[in-house]
Each structure stands twice: as structure tokens, then as C-alpha cells.
């Protein structure tokens, strides 16, 4: 009891200290917050009405974002199949799956925007760095999902095929794959949805897609055009989510 009391006090002190430290060293001025209201109103006012003349840019940008998400997801699936197998305790020994899992956790820890910036530096502007960034970033999660799907299957059919003389790859193909197929399909669709949402911001760092136009219009104070593109992004996200819900229902 005493220990818990001391621990509880220490935690409270730590949290309070962190908040005070953040306040003291950042100029959170009340006056700036007060004047933000009118400025946001002004900003929104200039966004309205959205300028519908940018339909061509919207179509071009959305198509590119979609292509980045599709190819990035495809790349992630290609990378996640072997990595997912190597990260599963059903298929490999701890000496192998432990380091692979650590690698995947490491990949997940790197934000997409950072990967995209590095890739723009490495291969130049355009959709290519975006595709590579999405493929890399998504693999951290997708390979983990695949490994969990493999480790979640019923072991009995695997033992049955082992007994019949099937090797590890044949067991993967005939005992594990039929069991994980719907889970893998569901996880892949889920990750595709995330990829599409996340790829919207890639344009801001020059890695292609519709984000480029939002960035351009905001920087050149064409808020009405930026508003149109933003609306298009919202519509796209809602459409993809609706599409996914329908797909997931099919695979349930």
C-alpha cells in the first residue's frame, strides 16, 4: 500500500511537472488565442464558395493518389508475405521470428511523412517516392498482421499434414493458407484504406498525389481552390470507407 502511495504521488508530480515545463518554455499567449477566432473566420470566408474550376486538377490529383495507394499497397503485400511468414512462431524458430518482429516494430515507428521525405531526397519528386514510402511504411503493420493471422490458425490440420508427409511450405499452402485467406484479405483491404488516407499528405513533401494541389493553393492564398480540393479529399475518403465496409461484409 505504501509503495503504491509513493508511486502514485511520483506519477502525479511527474505529469504536473511535464505540463508546467511545456507551458513555461512555449509562448502560449492568451492574446494570440483570442485573436485566432476572427482570423479563422476570415480564412473560412475566403474558402467559400469553393472554386469549381479546378475539377481537372482534382481528377488528376485523385487519380495519382489512387495509383500511389494501389502500387504502394501492392508493394507492401509483396514484402509482407515473406516477412509475415518469417515473423510467425508457427513457421520459424524464435531465433528468426524475434529479430524479424523487432525489424517490423522499427519500421512501424518511422512516420510515413519522414520516409516520404527521405525517398524524395533519394529518387526525386513525383509519385515514385510516394509509392516506395507507402510500401515500406505499410509493411511494418501488414507483415505483423499476416504473422498474427498465421499464428491464429488451428494447429491440428498442420499436424495432420505433417503426419501425411507434407513439408513446411506444403503445410503453409494447404493447412494454413485456406484458414488465413479471409483474414489476410480483410487485413489487406484495411491497410489499403489506411494507405489511401495517408497517401493524401504525400504531396505536401513532393511525393505525388492530390496533396500537392492543397499545398500549392494554400501557399498561393487561393483558398477557394484549396477548399474544392479538400472537399474532394473528404468525398474520396468517405467513398473508400463505404467501399471497404461493403468488401469486408463480403469476406466476413
Amino acid at each position: 500500500m505504501r509503495l503504491r502511495g509513493v508511486g502514485g504521488f511520483a506519477t502525479s508530480a511527474l505529469v504536473a511537472g511535464a505540463i508546467l515545463w511545456s507551458f513555461a518554455t512555449t509562448d502560449v499567449e492568451l492574446s494570440r488565442l483570442m485573436s485566432a477566432g476572427p482570423r479563422i473566420a476570415d480564412f473560412l470566408g475566403r474558402m467559400f464558395p469553393p472554386d469549381p474550376t479546378v475539377m481537372r486538377e482534382i481528377a488528376k490529383g485523385s487519380a495519382e493518389t489512387l495509383r500511389i495507394a494501389i502500387l504502394g499497397s501492392f508493394g507492401a503485400v509483396i514484402l509482407s508475405i515473406p516477412l509475415g511468414i518469417l515473423a510467425s512462431e508457427t513457421m520459424v524458430t524464435p531465433a528468426l521470428f524475434r529479430p524479424v518482429r523487432t525489424l517490423l516494430a522499427f519500421i512501424r515507428a518511422i512516420p510515413l511523412i519522414l520516409v516520404a521525405m527521405l525517398m524524395v531526397g533519394a529518387v526525386g519528386l513525383g509519385p515514385l517516392p510516394g509509392i516506395i514510402a507507402i510500401a515500406f511504411h505499410a509493411t511494418g503493420m501488414l507483415a505483423k498482421f499476416y504473422a498474427e493471422a498465421i499464428d491464429g490458425v488451428s494447429r491440428a490440420p498442420i499436424a495432420a499434414l505433417e503426419s501425411a508427409g507434407a513439408g513446411p511450405l506444403v503445410r503453409l499452402r494447404h493447412a494454413i493458407w485456406p484458414q488465413v485467406a479471409p483474414v489476410v484479405a480483410r487485413d489487406t483491404i484495411f491497410r489499403f484504406e489506411l494507405n489511401l488516407r495517408e497517401s493524401l499528405v504525400l504531396g505536401i513533401v513532393g511525393a505525388g498525389g492530390i496533396g500537392f494541389y492543397i499545398q500549392t493553393y494554400v501557399r498561393s492564398f487561393q483558398y477557394d481552390k484549396a477548399a474544392s480540393v479538400t472537399l474532394a479529399v473528404i468525398v474520396m475518403v468517405i467513398a473508400i470507407e463505404a467501399f471497404n465496409v461493403a468488401l469486408r461484409r463480403r469476406f466476413a
Binding site: 490440420p157 499434414l161 505433417e162 503426419s163 501425411a164 508427409g165 494447404h174 485456406p178 485467406a181
Partner: protein
């Protein structure tokens, strides 16, 4: 009389445990007969069968199956594993696959790895699988998904898969304990009959003396990882059976359920 399996002074503890699941077991399994392993849960029946199937390593003693010694540290080569068929208590089917696909899985050890990976059985594989389905009385279920079947039908599929493997030794671990008494008799009759017709040896485990008596020619009594008796079925009497169960250790509490 030839011998299907020869076991000498076999001891085994499951990895991470100290207690012996099998203790100094010696046994001869005569070829072409049906043998029942009889005993309470935790007697070591499942362990002995899995070990004969080549799926357990790290044991001590000498074991040879179908004339070839088992390596205590390595699973047997692929070609030999197919000679020993296994029927599981919980059926062990791939639930989302069709009955025919499940039975063809029994052929995987007999195909080239490439053919197995591509999932393209030969005409002969298909014929054998269909014949096994017919022998088990479920030819009409070939296209059904395994998860749509009843328990008795599932165990027929599992036996058909085992027969498709063309095994010379059939091991069955409590093959009927998940079934009602009528189904249990049918399934054991099918299993031992199919083995007899093929000249294969059948070893099945059971905790029901009545079923062992009806379908086995020899009965091996096990308790606490040891063999208590090994007798022709005609010699199984009330005393022997009572002995197996009377001196069984007290029922373990919840959470300590012994593996049968």
C-alpha cells in the same frame, strides 16, 4: 509373425516438464492386427501414438516403425512419414476446404513438392482419393465444405484422408471419443475394417474397454506412462480393466487436466 512397430525401453518427457509421459515402455505391435491402447486420461496413449508417428523428438530408448528405426532427435524423412497414417481425436480437417481437398491432403506426402505446392494432384491421386471417399461411405459429400459436416461425417473424412495416404500403419488417437456411441461403433468398425482389407496394422487408443474389446485383437493397458498389460482381447477381464482405472491417480483439479 512380422512386427509393425518395435519399442524398447522408451522414455519421454514433454519439453519443459520433468514428469515422464512415457516411462520405460517396451512393446511389440504385430503386423496386420488391430491393437487398442486402453487407459485413463494421462496414461500416455496420445504421446505414444504421436511418437510412433514421428512427430515427437527428444526421447530415450529404441523405436522402429515398419522395419526402420526412428531417430530420437530428428523427424523421419518425408517418404517414410506417409507410410504411417494418423487419425486425430478432433478430426484435424482444414475446415474451409472441401471434403475432396481434405482427402487429397493425405496424398501430399506421395506427390512431388512442386505438384503439392501447385495443388495439382495426378489422375491417380484423384482416383485414390475418390476410392477412399467411397470406402468411407461419403462419396456424395466430396464437394461439401468440411465445416458444414457433422462429427461422424468429419471423422469419416479424416479416415478417408488417412486411407488416401496408403499407410501400412494406421494410428488413431481417441478417434471416437467426440462421437455418440452409435457413431463410435460405426467409425471404429470402418477404421479397423479398412485396415484389415488393406493388410495394414491399426493401433487406436480409447478409454472405453467395451470399444477396445469389440474392435481390437490385442489390448495394451496403459497407466501413468507405463504399460500395465499386453494381452489378447479374449483375456481381457473385469479385473484387468478395473486395475487400470482403480489405481489411477486421483482426478487432477481444474487447470491441471492431464493430456490423454
Amino acid at each position: 509373425m512380422s512386427i509393425a512397430a518395435r519399442i524398447d525401453d522408451l522414455s519421454f518427457a514433454h519439453p519443459g516438464t520433468d514428469t515422464l509421459a512415457l516411462e520405460r515402455v517396451s512393446l511389440r505391435v504385430p503386423a496386420g492386427e488391430s491393437i487398442a491402447l486402453l487407459g485413463p486420461s494421462g496414461a500416455g496413449k496420445t504421446t505414444l501414438l504421436a511418437l510412433l508417428d514421428g512427430r515427437l523428438q527428444g526421447w530415450r530408448g529404441r523405436v522402429s516403425v515398419l522395419g526402420a528405426p526412428l531417430d530420437p532427435d530428428q523427424p523421419p524423412p518425408r517418404a517414410r512419414r506417409a507410410d504411417t497414417g494418423f487419425v486425430f481425436q478432433e478430426f484435424a480437417l482444414v475446415e474451409r476446404s472441401t471434403v475432396l481437398r481434405n482427402v487429397l491432403n493425405g496424398r501430399l506426402g506421395r506427390m512431388s513438392v512442386l505438384r503439392a505446392l501447385l495443388g495439382s494432384p495426378t489422375m491417380r491421386d484423384l482416383e485414390i482419393a475418390r476410392a477412399a471417399l467411397a470406402d468411407c461411405g461419403i462419396a456424395d459429400l466430396a464437394g461439401r465444405r468440411a465445416d458444414s459436416l457433422s462429427g461422424g461425417q468429419r471423422q469419416r473424412v479424416a479416415i478417408a484422408r488417412c486411407l488416401a495416404q496408403e499407410p501400412r500403419l494406421i494410428l488413431a488417437d481417441e478417434p471416437v471419443s467426440n462421437l455418440d456411441p452409435t457413431r463410435a461403433g460405426e467409425i471404429l468398425s470402418l477404421l479397423t475394417g479398412a485396415a484389415r482389407v488393406r493388410g495394414a496394422t491399426a493401433v487406436f487408443s480409447s478409454h472405453q474397454p467395451d470399444l477396445a474389446r469389440r474392435f481390437a485383437q490385442r489390448i495394451v493397458g496403459m497407466r501413468g506412462g507405463r504399460i500395465i498389460f499386453d494381452i489378447p482381447t479374449s483375456e481381457l477381464n473385469e479385473d484387468a480393466t478395473a486395475d487400470l482405472y482403480r489405481e489411477a491417480e486421483p482426478m487432477p483439479g481444474p487447470g491441471l487436466r492431464a493430456v490423454s
